[in-house]
Amino acid sequence: MPVKCTNCKDAKGILKRSRTGDPICRECFFLLFETEVHKTIQKYKLFTRGEVVAMGVSGGKDSTVLAHVMDTLNRRYDYGLDLRLLSIDEGITGYRDDSLETVKRNETEYGLPLTILSYKTLYGWTMDDIVKQIGKKNNCTFCGVFRRQALDRGAKHIKADKVVTGHNADDIAETVMMNIMRGDVARLQRCTAIMTGDDPTGIPRVKPLKYAYEKEIVAYAYHKKLDYFSTECIYSPEAYRGNARTYIKDLEAIRPRAILDIIHSGESMMIKKGVKMPTLMRCKNCDYISSNDICKACILLEGLNKGRPKVSVGKSSKIQKNLLDHKMLEMKARQLNISVIPKAVNGCGSGQGCCGGGKCGSSESTLTKGKVADQF
């Protein structure tokens, strides 16, 4: 027998709300879902009037709903934001190339300017190339590190003040669980933050859907008939996150409230006094924000045997001055147990280390692909 909506007490309920268990009708669901995001934005003061906001969109369910809701709220409550669409093409055949078609449709539908940046342009490698190189374990690490930097660089390119992403409550709960399982205390502290960016020169990243249930995002898109692309990344079956995801889904089936409770637990964790935490500094190679002398992306790239990223943060003259300090990198690499380009011993008089170009003809300068340590 049909149940009545607990909000308007009039229309038929078509969804059981995850957080409360209350039945709700279509129209009330749309309104409440949107209003809850609006309240999150207000409560945590996520935006300021006049800001240029780059929305990281992939064509998937979360970012499609994000773009739609942000556009709706911007108009309804007159946030005065200049919204843009920003998409990153990791170069995964059959996955990303299809979903980008969806993003291009979004550009037309919402009338919001779209910028697409590719790993190929930024780093010289597509994810397909990377996976061919390193296999199917740990490739998510590369993709995640590269994508975060790519979003930042893309945002800087379009002069955005903020970046928003469609991370939902389930995602954050999974990340909390993953960090607990791996004992990654530093990440655990940061991962529940709704806005990142202690670094004054970085662009803050905001997650307006932080408290929105994945199930409700899908329901919203379904009932609103929003067009999105829905396939799993072809490399994801091997991903570690899958374990956390299965666990979270099982918990949700028993008690949906658990997802928000896990986020709350993650937020409430505090590190004991006296525990050494990483401090944020700038990468000596590319000037990107980093916990170490050389940022993870540069280390990964060295391991992949390429030079500096092609689109850089900061002045290019500065980058040229701070040319890769080979000795420092070798030291670092030894610590992390990866090999880098071998220094040419005969023929090369540059004293700056092997450039890998092979022009000197030295037998020692063969491009040997570095073997990346398992911990990556």
């Binding site: 078509i14 992939s58 979360d62 994945e214 396939t231 990344c233």
Partner: protein, 99 residues
């Protein structure tokens, strides 16, 4: 009496069913009453093309796949024990993919 219903698949679930998003099927009177529970078994035996563990867990739907009957959340409707009626549209939407 046999039931004529429509099965719809979305959110990636259609990949398990040869990319067919909608299927009109007839359920013969093999059981007294068709419920979602018995329908799932029927789907597994008759429609599912591969990887049953991606769709079914034990005797119910895999957690992460939403079930709707005539666009209504099955959680408001007795879930596995909902008795299917002639003309019903049962929709399965997977939420298990990147956003």
């Amino acid at each position: 009496m046999s039931l004529n219903i429509t099965l719809a698949f979305g959110g990636g679930a259609e990949l398990l069913f040869g990319n067919v998003k909608e299927n009109k099927v007839t359920l013969e009177k093999a059981v007294e009453q068709w419920t979602i529970k018995t329908l799932l078994v029927w789907i597994k035996d008759n429609l599912l093309q591969h990887s049953p563990e991606m769709f079914i867990r034990g005797d119910t739907i895999r957690p992460g796949i939403m079930v709707l009957v005539n666009d209504c959340d099955w959680e408001l409707l007795d879930k596995n024990d909902y008795v299917i009626e002639d003309g019903d549209i049962v929709t399965f939407i997977s939420t298990l993919h990147g956003g």
